[in-house]
């Protein structure tokens, strides 16, 4: 799992991981299997926990708002897809328009999120947050024009 070349790096030994890494090569082959799965699970929990904590701590309020909207879009898209699977895709253009609108709005919002995140400032030297928002509005308008046209 954890590649060995990273072992001598000083940063980031969270306790669980360090223990796992020391244990895994040393363990007997029989025990290795169960411990690997167990520690794999623990590892995963750890990863998710870490991500959650990082997210809660580092994300500014405005970005969290955007994320809530993203979550809503994912839910809306998922519901449409589920309905399409359950009830068939007969007006296929309607399904595509609705689903395309959610997907398109999702990626546009993610783009807005990327451009307004402070950490990405160096990637977009010429785009201020206001400019990013204006772009977002224009692109969403274009997207919705096409979607409304396509849904008939």
């Amino acid at each position: 799992m954890a590649p060995k070349k990273n072992r001598d790096r000083p940063l980031t030994p969270t306790p669980a991981l360090a223990a796992h890494q020391d244990a895994a090569p040393a363990a007997a082959p029989l025990a290795a299997k169960s411990s690997a799965t167990k520690s794999g699970r623990a590892n995963w929990d750890d990863v998710l926990l870490n991500i959650y904590q990082y997210y809660m701590k580092e994300t500014p309020q405005r970005t969290k708002l955007i994320d809530a909207f993203l979550l809503f879009l994912v839910a809306a898209g998922g519901l449409q897809f589920l309905y399409c699977i359950l009830a068939g895709n007969y007006p296929f253009n309607a399904f595509l328009a609705g689903f395309g609108a959610t997907v398109g709005q999702f990626v546009l919002t993610v783009s807005l999120r990327i451009q307004t995140t402070a950490a990405n400032k160096s990637d977009f030297p010429s785009i201020s947050p206001e400019r990013a928002f204006a772009d977002f509005v224009v692109c969403s308008l274009i997207l919705h024009f096409f979607c409304v046209n396509f849904i008939n």
Partner: protein, 749 residues
């Protein structure tokens, strides 16, 4: 190009002077691009060329006179006679709408121009825009001030592009190449800035391109490929995410608005790379986010699991969807680009088109002159300084070179990148050699020493061979020689392009020009003579049967319904016509009756030596018909026992009895003194006894016998078959009226 020399000198160097020079140069380039396309208009007349443009012209006329909504829902009952064609849903409307808009805009400006002139001159006008788009695209690639102008000049007059955009060539490519280059420019711009707005405008122009040309699949496959290569090189950036996803989300929805495209972007394999990269980018963006969130050891686990899971699921899903038929496999036209032998075996109608053949080497030199050997150099220079947009050039050039090698027609998509890459190569050379400054020897020594000391530290980013120190040229004579030779090549390029355009690409195939012994021009205008005859001397709804090549021209010039035309969407219908042409009269007469054919038109070049006639295309008719009715039409029967395709006395019985042979050579021997009848295309002596036609009447034969039109006879009044009736009329005895009446069967009621 030579104007850049004063540009470098001090005193002229202000930015406003440069801008002025740039504008002037670009205007001159546009002027050159337009005027070099006018040979055919000046020599002959302002007329639509070739075959396909006649349909576009007809559709544009319909649009201009009936308005947009009627055009969108146009059901054309004057083509594909019994079937008709839902034209609004089976064409790319971009070209027609563009010229319709120009037409109405000019009328609003009180400059009423005939729609035909707009159609004829649309391609030259757009070639000026293409030159400008190439200028913009090249300026994104390099900082050299001259590269953009050089690329624009190359693009303006390169024969590879002129071949499809001379005045009168009113084909989709006329505007599509401009849109192609401009879409690429917007894509590069979006990628560089990471801006949603540029991505959206790229998507809009992509939508316009989809509305104009079937070759939009090229963009749909090239941009994902570029993105994929960037990701694989570890150059993923948030800018790539923003530009690509904006382009894909908006562009796909936009492309689905065109009725002819419809659901294809989610259903066919050509569009799946774009979708796949779209999904892949989401994944990468998410992974990238997580990378910043958690420590790197945990990240390794995370990455491995996620990547394996998604790739596995994605691949399985794609394979499953394709094999269960939710996603259509590659269509024949695209598939034949990969498997180059495919079309010849399975779809003869694709292989029968001459521009779907592989390209020969001379064609590259003929179409691109000295650009073809500057092109690899330009691509190499992009490797030296490998930024994101240079990767695009590399990917595009590899992709387009392959396709141009497979198919002659795709030379057109290669030309822009050749112009850009060779302009980069040439301009970087000129930048080095034109500069008037002589480097100071001491300075150079210092630089060399610097570079030598720096070498181990390896600070440069390019390839290993590229980090050589920049040293100037000391002697002005070497500068002079290099610059002079470059100028000589440029001048030769101009003369070559003009010569090629004038001699090879500026002939309207509607009128054939030949030279008299004294050098004066003799114009053979049989096509229009015959079409005009049809237009004036037949009923308004007389159905014309001809081979599909002439379908659009008959519809456009003669304005009569046809059975098949150049839009080969129904292979069986074409095979029906092929069968009627290649069978005995007794077989083809019922076919013609069933399809309500009134006139049959054949093209015959035997008298004039016009080689593109129907006898030379005849084998394709046989092959296409054989594909549907293998036991009624057999290609083997048209060859002599020694395997030769002959039309003279040695021709096989099947050949001599085929309708096409009979129509072509009907009464032909009577033009010559006995025993002298020759066919000048096939170079063969024809038998003295011409073929006999029982079911058709000769209705019209043009001056040089190029077009022959036959009228289908009505049923016989007294119910005999036509052979008997014709024999009776010729006064032939009814084959020895012997008393024993033979085995007649009883009448059955």
């Amino acid at each position: 190009m030579t104007t850049e020399v004063p540009l470098r000198q001090d005193g002229f160097n202000s930015s406003s002077t440069r801008t002025l020079l740039r504008v002037i140069i670009l205007c001159l380039i546009a002027g050159a691009a337009i005027s070099s396309r006018l040979f055919s208009v000046i020599r002959f007349e302002s007329i639509i060329h070739e075959f396909d443009p006649w349909f576009n012209f007809r559709a544009t006329k319909y649009l201009a006179s009936n308005g947009f909504y009627k055009f969108w829902d146009w059901f054309d009952d004057r083509t594909w006679h019994p079937l008709g064609r839902v034209t609004g849903g089976t064409l790319y409307p971009g070209l027609m709408v563009t010229s319709g808009v120009i037409y109405h805009a000019l009328r609003a400006l009180t400059v009423p121009v005939d729609i035909r002139n707009i159609c004829v001159l649309l391609a030259p006008a757009f070639s000026g825009l293409t030159a400008y788009a190439t200028y913009l695209l090249t300026n994104e690639m390099t900082t050299s001030p001259s590269a953009g102008l050089l690329a624009a000049a190359f693009m303006g007059i390169a024969p590879g592009y002129i071949s499809r955009s001379v005045a009168g060539s009113y084909d989709n490519e006329a505007i599509a190449i401009f849109l192609l280059v401009f879409t690429f420019y917007l894509w590069i711009k979006a990628l560089k800035l990471g801006s949603m707005l540029w991505g959206a405008s790229c998507a809009l122009f992509y939508g316009y391109m989809v509305a104009s040309w079937g070759g939009y699949a090229f963009i749909t496959c090239l941009l994902p490929l570029h993105a994929l290569v960037l990701i694989c090189m570890g150059r993923y950036s948030t800018r790539l995410y923003v530009s690509y996803t904006t382009w894909y989300a908006l562009g796909t929805i936009a492309s689905m608005q065109i009725p002819f495209v419809g659901f294809l972007p989610v259903k066919t394999s050509e569009h799946m790379p774009a979708l796949g990269i779209f999904g892949f980018l989401q994944l990468i963006a998410f992974i990238n986010y997580v990378r910043s969130a958690i420590p790197s050891r945990q990240f390794q686990t995370f990455l491995a699991t996620i990547l394996i899971a998604t790739f596995g699921i994605g691949l399985i899903a794609l394979v499953a969807l394709t094999s269960f038929g939710y996603v259509a496999p590659w269509s024949g036209r695209f598939y034949s680009l990969w498997d180059t032998g495919y079309a010849k075996i399975h779809i003869p109608i694709i292989a029968s088109v001459s521009e779907h053949q592989p390209t020969a080497w001379p064609a590259f030199f003929f179409d691109l002159s000295f650009l073809i050997w500057l092109f690899p150099a330009g691509v190499y220079m992009c490797f030296q300084e490998l930024r994101d947009e240079h990767v695009f050039i590399v990917v595009y050039s590899l992709f387009a070179s392959y396709f141009a090698g497979v198919m002659v027609r795709l030379m057109l998509t290669l030309t822009p990148i050749v112009c850009v890459a060779s302009a980069i190569a040439l301009s970087s050379m000129l930048d080095l050699y034109v500069s008037a400054k002589t480097p100071d020897p001491k300075e150079v020594e210092r630089i060399v020493a610097d570079a030598a000391s720096k070498k181990p530290s390896k600070a440069t980013t390019g390839l290993r061979g590229s980090d050589k120190p920049k040293i100037g040229i000391f002697h002005s004579s070497s500068k002079f020689i290099v610059v002079a030779s470059a100028i000589v090549y440029l001048l030769m390029f101009v003369t070559h392009c003009t010569w090629v355009t004038s001699n090879a690409y500026s002939s309207p195939s509607v009128v054939l020009a030949s030279r008299m012994p004294d050098g004066s021009q003799h114009i053979i205008d049989d096509y229009r003579e015959a079409y005009q005859w049809l237009r004036q001397n037949t009923k308004e709804d007389a159905k014309i049967m001809s081979w599909w090549d002439y379908g659009y021209q008959i519809g456009g010039m003669a304005d009569r319904p046809t059975l098949v035309d150049n839009n080969t969407w129904n292979n069986t219908h074409i095979a029906t016509v092929g069968k009627a042409m290649s069978s005995r009269e007794e077989v083809s007469y019922p076919i013609m009756r069933q399809h309500e054919v009134d006139y049959v038109l054949v093209v015959f070049g035997g008298l004039l030596g016009y080689s593109g006639d129907d006898i030379n295309k005849f084998l394709w008719m046989v092959r296409i018909a054989e594909g549907i009715w293998p036991d009624e039409v057999k290609e083997r029967d048209f060859f002599t026992s020694r395997g030769e395709y002959k039309v003279d006395g040695d021709a096989t019985e099947t050949m001599k009895n085929s309708l096409m042979y009979k129509m072509s050579y009907y009464n032909y021997h009577s033009l010559f003194p006995p025993g002298q009848a020759t066919d000048r295309v096939r170079n063969s002596r024809l038998p003295d006894q011409g073929p006999v036609l029982n079911t058709l009447d000769e209705a019209f034969t043009s001056e040089n016998w190029i077009i022959r039109i036959y009228k289908v006879k009505d049923l016989d009044n007294v119910g005999r078959d036509h052979a008997a009736a014709a024999a009776f009329e010729r006064g032939q005895k009814k084959r020895k009226t012997n008393k024993n009446k033979g085995a007649r069967v009883l009448r059955v009621d």
